[in-house]
Symmetry: D2
């Protein structure tokens, strides 16, 4: 339920509504916009008497939200949401934001060297993994805390914001301390306790779709971030499980660009695309990056390594810094072409809807 | 195996090689290029003595082809292949080609009316179904032969080439007679006898990928067209089965744009994209069309109906002619932006390959 | 719609109802049971006035059928259907039926030799492919008509009924002439014209599920058989596409035994299981055969070859005749254990249904 | 690598090998069997000189293990492993073990009432959820610690061992304290930190397959349990994501019984099957339970609720205690039939392997 207060509603009237909801054992999300306040409900709405709410002083309307991701929906938040990371703004009406860097942080030197080159190539945010989710217990699992410290130092030294994945609840506070954006990886999209712990740190969350999640399921788990009081959510499509069968898959995952316009319709939060994990092939990064931006993505996350043969992980999908230059140039060109046309991205939200 | 003759090889030397292969019970494909002749083998190559072939007079080299789709591979055909449909050329170095029209042909009047509007919108080829593949035996199955005749008449009256699906082997000759391009639909991608019968008609074939086929499997079935002597092949990505699960799918299928750059790498034949069936949602046609062209597609196939509420099939995914104008304009703009840039589409084929 | 006539309804009253339906351009299926006649409608039922039908003389009731496979549903056909193939009966209240034989027919001698051994092992029906559906145009495609003749001759000489796949509409009449059961393979489940052509031959049809078809979709295509006047339908689960991903699949397909009890609930026709194609591994045939019978299957189809190293196709999944003996013994034991228990197979249809 | 010591090897010789491995920064698993000791390596084996190990005193052989799940493989552990939970033994040569109980623990009374009825029905272990993994943040999330206490109390009062899911690393110690078996649910199969934390508690782990995991991936994550020193592993197949498409799925998941014989071949640990989550339909529990046991499962986990209409979760898939009686009777009958036959379950491991 979305409780829309009148523009003239007093603070006390808002407080009364909030009190009433809390008295039913539910939690609230209060969004104070420029013109009016909207109140969202966290928990089982059936405990609330819909008609009673509607008749309370100061209430303009109470709207049932049909989708399971109530607070993430455009019915609840009416304007596009941008997420600020230091000086960078990700989201609507802004040029695409590029996050780039190595799969794994291997040393301060390696990260500085690659970080410098991706910044020069035009990237806005430096990525690098300290806690690596790995299938095999026998493989390199990341540098851990030492990696986090390299990330923070390189970020400072190059003056570039940073993003890194948190894998364990135990490390949430450390990651929040050392990085500017906390990433929840594809394998943890269903890990509700990790999501909630990360959300409570009040830092921006880069929330990746699980490789086998439907859009509705994905947004329902993103809802846990906002239900914990954090609206700095960056969504990320990173490839879904490919079709199986007796033939080999040409790509490691199937980058699902349908997700971009679908997510833009459903939610006001920004969406970025990760073509590196999404395809697993460095020769597909350029064409799929072009396509991602053309589909409406607000940015890209790309794995870059200057010495792929030495990389401790994901060598096959990492591009060289020189290729990043080319990708960013081309994607900005496509972004400009579309946003300056007669049918800019914003027009995708109108038109003949999904009925 | 690809047998490359010397530029100086005589006709007789080519004939000798062909004779030798045929004497092993195999068939051949002879490609006479500007500079040299290349001979492909159809059938079980193990029957051929590789070293013996290499030592024959006039033979420059004999190359083993690792992929199962030998004749479709870039190892066998070295240049990009364009397909001509009347005055229209589909493929490399040409602007995108747009195929548009109603899902089903309902009458001459309906087809003429929609055909006129899509031609005016900039479409190059008129689509319309006479033999409809339908799940239910209880639904409308298409006008059949009467539909084919409407298609031919409207094509002539509007001076626009036409494409329509053939579903049954029994109807192959009729479709070849009345339409300019023969479509093999997604449900018939595994129907080897239909493919071969259609191929033998010597008309261009629009060959759609099955919704659960891997790329290698798809190209292996396309191989049957060329093995029957027909090189006028237009490939078409039209959406794969979405992930299942307890959540509803937001799209009917998952349009797989990864297929576009992968197919461009593997084969020299043109690739078009069908966002109408690929998404099943008219509000996604514009963003996914932009993305398809940006990924490198040589054209689009789009369902258009001017009175969707009256359409006998696929009403949810058909756009209005006015929207087609917008899509074509935008896609041409993106095509131009990329092809005139420092990194045009052709550069996708170079660079760091898939190792 | 299922129109149930009164037990007392006269022939003329049935004729009047049929006439009325046909006058709306629809076709009918008339089922004359021991006690009463039921009439099914083939085509778009919305053309029929439901209330008018109900009020016609001799009509006991007219029932709306909610599922898209109206004639295949248990709402339309109330008793279990058995299919007779020469002396063999497949279906409810009968011991499991075993179909076995080589993937491909290679010669009269090969088929006779294997046929003799599978008959001695307890198999009831001999399988063998003459027209092989193959991914590659370069592979062995089956002996064709010569194979059909071997099948007929071996069937006669060993006094065992036969089943073989038809792949092309062109060969339907030949297959119907030489074999006792016509198989529609997994790749042709969506080939509506082939299904209908085969159905019209009035022979039993072994109709395999496509590896990516939902149950409702599968039954909707089976509906085309009955809509063409043929009720000798044997359904067959043969494995669905496995999950994809970066890990290799342990099995070629995923044999979906859930399909067995689901199909038994939905339709009165017999269901057999093919663990050979369903798993692609000979070492899984025994445990999955046990499980198939325990899940409620009415029979099994198993690939057997006595010299797997010489087999022209499917060597990895073919078992030896000696293993077939063991499988049949074990499966009969399980069948007996369950059918003589306090909770025999028939009780699966009662109980707490799927609401 | 599996280092097999000679039967005559001294303790010191074992210690020397262990020391050598540890000196390369790796960890070891030492398995002291009745006749000989086997040493497994945890970490990157390339750091070890294979030939050097082979030549050490007391070493009989050093065997390369080809699969990524080295310690879980039958190459490393040669005998079947049974897992003991209080008086109950799960695994080879034992009758099937039944785990049953409500989806969610709602109160001491509810759990006692249902626990009593499942014990009387023949169940060996009581299941009940205290920390519920839920898609929606707005739904009931389980009673948490209070639920754990009810579980412990009911377990004691009814003298039945208990199993419950741990969802968060934070709760691992509490779950280990109050329950007899720690369950890692399907959504946490990729949660390596939770798996490792749970493993270190030294209690039996019920480890469920993720709904989109391949078998090799599943065993690679189970490997993390053994790499943390815990060999009390119970594997559990609980359904994989069904095929998607435009048709509705008849089942919520696809119970994948192929996994049972495949897992039995690959690993010596016991495998149980959860038909409740695997199908999501209570009317399929009986037939799929029969099939699971026939496929070789060592037990079943079944959701039971005596008042499904009041259940706080999973009402559609919970059966009544009376139905559990029937299922257990039938499954024991099938188990007995097979294990007393000429081809008992153990023979599945021999025969023509997967080459």
């Amino acid at each position: 339920m979305s409780i829309v207060m009148k523009p003239s509603a007093s603070k006390d009237q808002v407080t009364e509504v909030v009190k009433m909801i809390r008295s039913s054992g539910l939690k609230v999300d209060v969004s104070s916009g420029q013109f009016q306040t909207v109140i969202g409900i966290i928990g089982d709405e059936k405990k609330i008497n819909f008609d009673q709410v509607k008749s309370m002083p100061g209430v303009y309307d109470a709207i049932q939200i049909q989708v399971p991701y109530r607070l993430m929906s455009r019915t609840y938040i009416r304007q596009n949401v941008s997420v600020k990371v230091k000086g960078i703004t990700i989201g609507e009406e802004n040029e695409p934001v590029y996050m780039a860097g190595p799969c794994s942080i291997e040393s301060y030197e390696q990260l500085y060297r690659i970080g410098k080159s991706v910044k020069e190539a035009g990237a806005h945010i430096l990525r690098g993994g300290a806690y690596k989710p790995r299938t095999s217990v026998h493989s390199f699992q990341g540098l851990g805390l030492a990696g986090l410290k390299h990330l923070q130092n390189v970020g400072k030294d190059l003056d570039i914001p940073t993003v890194t994945e948190v894998r364990s609840e135990v490390d949430v506070k450390a990651v929040a301390k050392y990085a500017d954006v906390i990433q929840i990886g594809t394998r943890n999209m269903y890990n509700q306790d990790l999501i909630e712990a990360a959300a409570r740190e009040e830092k921006p969350i880069l929330f990746k779709r699980n490789f086998s999640a439907q859009i509705d399921e994905y947004l329902s788990f993103a809802e846990r971030i906002i239900a914990n009081g954090n609206k700095k959510i960056i969504l990320c499509e990173r490839g879904i499980s490919p079709l199986g069968g007796s033939f080999k898959n040409q790509t490691r995952f199937t980058l699902d660009l349908n997700a971009v316009p679908v997510l833009r319709k459903e939610t006001p939060f920004p969406i970025i695309v990760d073509p590196s994990h999404g395809t697993g092939r460095k020769d597909l990064i350029l064409p799929m990056s072009r396509a991602a931006i053309a589909s409406g993505a607000h940015g890209l996350m790309i794995e870059v390594h200057d010495r792929p043969h030495d990389a401790l992980s994901d060598a096959n999908q990492s591009i060289q810094p020189g290729q990043l230059v080319e990708i960013i140039k081309m994607c900005n060109l496509i972004y400009k072409t579309i946003s300056e046309s007669e049918a800019p991205f914003s027009s995708d939200l109108n038109g003949n809807g999904h009925s």
